[in-house]
């Protein structure tokens, strides 16, 4: 189950702030590359490089329309990240449910002892 740390991985793909900016820009709908170049304020080759990484993990889809390349978000590919956060969250929730029980006991003990900490 060990996963190689390559860029062909949704987690790595979104770890780069510029790539998250691209995803944010595409969240509003399909956009041509030129739009993204303008929004990010980067040179086109750099934007294309980030788009390639995002395409490799399936986070964005591309289609040609006339002379334009249009990119759009594919949220499905980002599901592993969502799932991971949910798993992590559940693990902490269960931990804290146990902590509630411990705290309830400490509270009762403290009330029983008056001002004693």
């Amino acid at each position: 189950m060990a996963r190689a740390a390559t860029t062909a991985d949704a987690f790595n793909a979104v770890a780069e702030p510029r790539r998250r900016q691209i995803l944010d820009a595409l969240a509003g709908g399909e956009r041509p590359v030129n739009d993204l170049v303008r929004v990010l304020g980067l040179a086109q080759p750099q934007v294309s490089k980030h788009l390639r990484v995002l395409r490799e993990v399936g986070a964005v889809d591309v289609r040609d329309e006339g002379r334009q390349r249009l990119y759009r978000l594919n949220g499905h590919a980002l599901k592993p990240i969502h799932d991971w956060v949910k798993t992590y969250e559940r693990s902490w929730s269960e931990r804290f449910d146990q902590l509630d029980v411990v705290l309830e006991e400490l509270k009762q003990k403290e009330e029983g002892n008056g001002s004693d900490e």
Partner: protein, 164 residues
């Protein structure tokens, strides 16, 4: 779950190197602090229903070490340790955290910042986990993914036995 439960933990990813965990408790902060820093008490809640905490060592002073080891029901052992960097009793603890299950673990140590804020006898707890590198957070994520697989297997087992 426990009748005293005050809600679920929320986890957010404020940046590409950070994880933020937040939860409110129906108890004053000095008791949350006590439950967080007393080994016998940590053993009772840190297992997250995934097994048993076999080791909980806490040398609560700046420069002191902590170490937790837990073993799942099927024998999978995970260990974490770190060093206390800053301690404000009942309010704030800054410590490092090393997940022992990865190669070069020490290099990937995360920094954990615990804060406790009390309002009207209720305490909001936050833990901000800061990884020094993207690789460090990836390793943490991978550990989470493995735990997720374990959860999935446990669920599958429950479903399977309910069909009998």
């Amino acid at each position: 779950m426990a009748a005293t439960s005050s809600g679920t933990a929320t986890v957010t990813l404020p940046s590409d190197k950070q994880i933020l965990i937040t939860r409110e408790f129906d108890a004053p902060k000095h008791l949350v602090y006590k439950a967080w820093t007393t080994p016998e008490l940590v053993k009772r809640w840190w297992h997250a229903n995934r097994g048993e905490v076999t080791i909980a060592e806490i040398d609560l002073r700046v420069g002191g070490m902590w170490r937790y080891v837990s073993v799942t029901a099927d024998g999978f052992e995970v260990g974490f340790h770190g060093e206390f960097r800053e301690i404000v009793p009942n309010e704030r603890i800054v410590s490092t955290e090393v997940y022992e299950g990865i190669p070069d673990a020490e290099e990937h140590a995360a920094l954990n910042i615990l804060t406790l804020t009390e309002v009207d006898g209720r305490t909001t707890l936050t833990v901000l986990v800061e990884h020094p590198t993207k690789e460090g957070r990836d390793a943490h994520i991978n550990a989470g993914m493995e735990a997720g697989m374990q959860d999935a297997m446990d669920l599958l087992e429950q479903v399977a036995s309910s069909l009998r």
